[in-house]
């Protein structure tokens, strides 16, 4: 009962005018970021961190979460109208969405995306609320060894499941951990890997890395593609409404998409992209007319678009209740929490219930706003697609630079950001996924801390990591994930027809 009143109290936070305003700003920016190719939610959130320094943490986090789930709405627009998914989680939408647009049903495709996103997102938040309280009760019993194994599992899963090569995923994870060890060791005060550069004493700021990898690196990729041909933009045809028949066909996919999306979203490593792939294949398998898929079947838009929004709600579950994110974007969100000196996890539900439930409940409001932004007003956002990329990309570069400079007023960080931009470009080219890198970077410090604490408790005996049922369970799952992926790679490497998945 007490938990329920805390949840309801959260509304008094999220309905404050100032927080409503920041919810609006967040979801608006999320939609814009989703629509614009070249800048994704991870970079968008990272760029907001320096800008929101002086803000009250609750409002700032409400805004950044808005960017995160808002981007899933906007992502469908480019998939449907120009066959160019803005985010990897909109790749599946492009298959049938673009075909619908070709047949003059772009309006219906956008409408079903918006409605599916709204339903999936909202039910996802309810499920998130229901799961959060019992999960935090369990998580309160976690000690350093449990936390270490949990983070190891999250990293293993993300490394193994993003990208086509688990070896490259693991490599990315190790690079992220390496970057995390640069700077002053917090427990002994020793400098590590500073290489005589004074700016490195405080470590490499995670905003620098994320903006470099995601914003600057993405701009380089986009510049390269800029000189290749571009698909034509379909005009928004047809009313943004569904016929009765289309509604009837969409309800099932929306319902299943919600369940698939939310459950997959909770799991580390899987995330929104895999949820969309699973939803799409589920709909195709269940359909009486699987041959229509790829030709403009509305089910192929409704299911995945619902699933990716339900997955964002699901991904908030481990982030908020355990403090361990399971994807690149939520890792950036965790970074934002930490910047404000707030550690998500079970204790936060006790110490700052106003913040937690204010944030969660703001997502209901945000989803309503997104529905309005994406149905009647989508025409405005579509115009963004007509901005020449030759103008847009330089502007993104300046925004990234200003954002980085605003953090510490330090030019060295700008050069570092450029370096990570080049790395981000190169990693995309050679197929090294970025999500494990970012997650490892954010978790690295906490992981080392819990590792050393656990070893101190056990007097240096590593058996502590397999001493309880929970740690053994986590270890077994990690090994299983690796083993399954490993055997797949060994057995059918040539079968690379699967969707090129995704950084986030």
């Amino acid at each position: 009962m007490e938990a329920l009143s805390l949840v309801l109290d959260g509304f008094s936070v999220s309905l404050q005018p100032i927080n409503l305003w920041y919810t609006f700003i967040g979801v608006l920016m999320g939609t814009v970021i989703g629509v614009l190719p070249g800048i994704g939610p991870a970079a968008g959130i990272a760029l907001l961190i320096p800008v929101s320094y002086g803000m009250n943490p609750t409002s700032a986090l409400i805004m950044m979460a808005g960017v995160y789930y808002g981007a899933q709405y906007g992502g469908s627009v480019t998939s449907i109208l120009i066959n160019t998914p803005g985010e990897s989680s909109s790749v599946m939408t492009a298959i049938d969405g673009y075909q619908m647009a070709k047949k003059g049903r772009a309006g219906a495709a956008l409408a079903v995306s918006a409605w599916g996103s709204f339903i999936g997102g909202t039910i996802g938040i309810i499920a998130l609320t229901l799961m959060a309280v019992p999960l935090t009760k369990i998580a309160l019993g976690f000690g350093p060894p449990e936390y270490f194994m949990l983070m190891a599992l999250a990293l293993t899963a993300v490394s193994a499941l993003t990208g086509n090569s688990p070896a490259k995923g693991m490599l990315a994870m190790m690079i992220g951990l390496m970057i995390a060890t640069i700077g002053t060791d917090l427990q002994s005060g020793q400098m590590r890997f500073v290489m005589g550069i004074p700016e490195l004493q405080d470590g490499i700021g995670f905003v620098v890395v994320v903006v470099g990898l995601f914003a600057v690196g993405e701009v380089f990729i986009a510049i390269e593609e800029h000189f290749h041909s571009r698909s034509e933009i379909f005009r928004l045809q047809g009313k943004l409404m569904l016929t009765k028949e289309e509604w009837r066909r969409s309800l099932g996919p929306i319902g299943r998409g919600t369940i698939i999306g939310f459950l997959i979203g909770i799991l580390p490593g899987a995330g929104a992209t895999i949820a969309t792939i699973m939803s799409y294949s589920a709909e195709k398998n269940m359909s009486k007319h699987p041959e229509q898929f790829g030709q403009g079947a509305i089910e192929g838009v409704a299911g995945p678009e619902t699933a990716n929004n339900a997955a964002t709600a699901g991904a908030m579950v481990p982030l908020l209740t355990l403090g361990v994110p399971g994807s690149g974007s939520t890792a950036v969100l965790l970074g934002a929490f930490v910047m404000y000196g707030i550690q998500p996890g079970p204790l936060l539900f006790q110490s700052r219930p106003d913040l937690v439930w204010g944030l969660v409940n703001s997502m209901y409001v945000g989803n309503v706003m997104l529905l309005i932004l994406n149905l009647p007003l989508i025409g405005l956002f579509v115009r963004l697609l007509y901005i020449p990329t030759g103008i847009l990309l330089p502007l993104v570069l300046v925004l990234a630079s200003v954002g980085i400079y605003a953090v510490n007023g330090n030019i060295v960080e700008l050069y570092l950001c450029l370096l990570f931009g080049v790395l981000g470009y190169a990693f995309r080219k050679i197929d090294i996924p970025l999500a494990p890198l970012v997650l490892a970077l954010v978790l690295g410090g906490m992981m080392e801390q819990s590792f050393r604490q656990a070893m101190t408790i056990s007097g240096g005996n590593p058996k502590i990591f397999v001493s309880s049922g929970l740690t053994i369970g986590l270890a077994v799952i990690s090994v299983l994930v690796l083993a399954v992926k490993f055997s797949k790679v060994i057995s059918r490497r040539k079968n690379s027809g699967e969707v090129k998945s995704a950084t986030i």
């Binding site: 090569s165 002994s188 510049i223 390269e224 990309l393 330089p394 931009g421 490497r493 040539k494």
Partner: protein, 154 residues
């Protein structure tokens, strides 16, 4: 080919990382593990991923024509272009504090736009100036973030 390069670079990085770890001074205070243990673990992890990558590469070679060799046969003119852009960004950063945000940014933007968005003098010029002024106003006046002033008095 590319995988072999990655492998090579990984091994070099691992060697440097191990060397760097061995250079961390340790004192007999603090926790028993000290600041070296975790980096050593990461170094070992790096070697394991290199080994795994090697295994994948070998397997891929056995599978007939697993990866189409499109990336290597492409022409590399875009790399020259991107290097030029990276250099231009580097120059922008180098003069950023000396010239100040308000002077360096429009120049940076205009040149880059003239390259990427050819022939649109007016649109590019206007966007460069208006965007700079808007960003400056937003950051230094509204958000209170100080941007480099440079040689301008405001």
């Amino acid at each position: 080919m590319i995988d072999r390069m990655i492998l090579f670079v990984t091994l070099i990085v691992a060697a440097f990382y191990f060397y760097g770890t061995s250079q961390i001074p340790t004192l007999e205070i603090g926790d028993p593990l000290g600041p070296k243990a975790f980096p050593y673990l990461i170094g070992i992890g790096l070697l394991i991923s290199a080994g795994w990558l090697m295994l994948e590469t070998v397997r891929a070679k056995k599978a007939p024509q697993a990866e189409p060799a499109d990336s290597t046969s492409q022409d590399h003119s875009h790399l020259v272009l991107l290097s030029a852009i990276v250099a231009w960004i580097g120059i922008y950063f180098a003069v950023f504090e000396h010239l100040g945000f308000l002077l360096s940014t429009p120049i940076f933007l205009f040149v880059l736009m003239m390259y990427l968005n050819r022939g649109k003098w007016l649109a590019n010029g206007l966007t460069s100036v208006i965007f700079t002024v808007a960003a400056y106003t937003l950051f230094s006046k509204v958000l209170g973030v100080s941007l480099a002033k440079g040689i301008l008095p405001f």
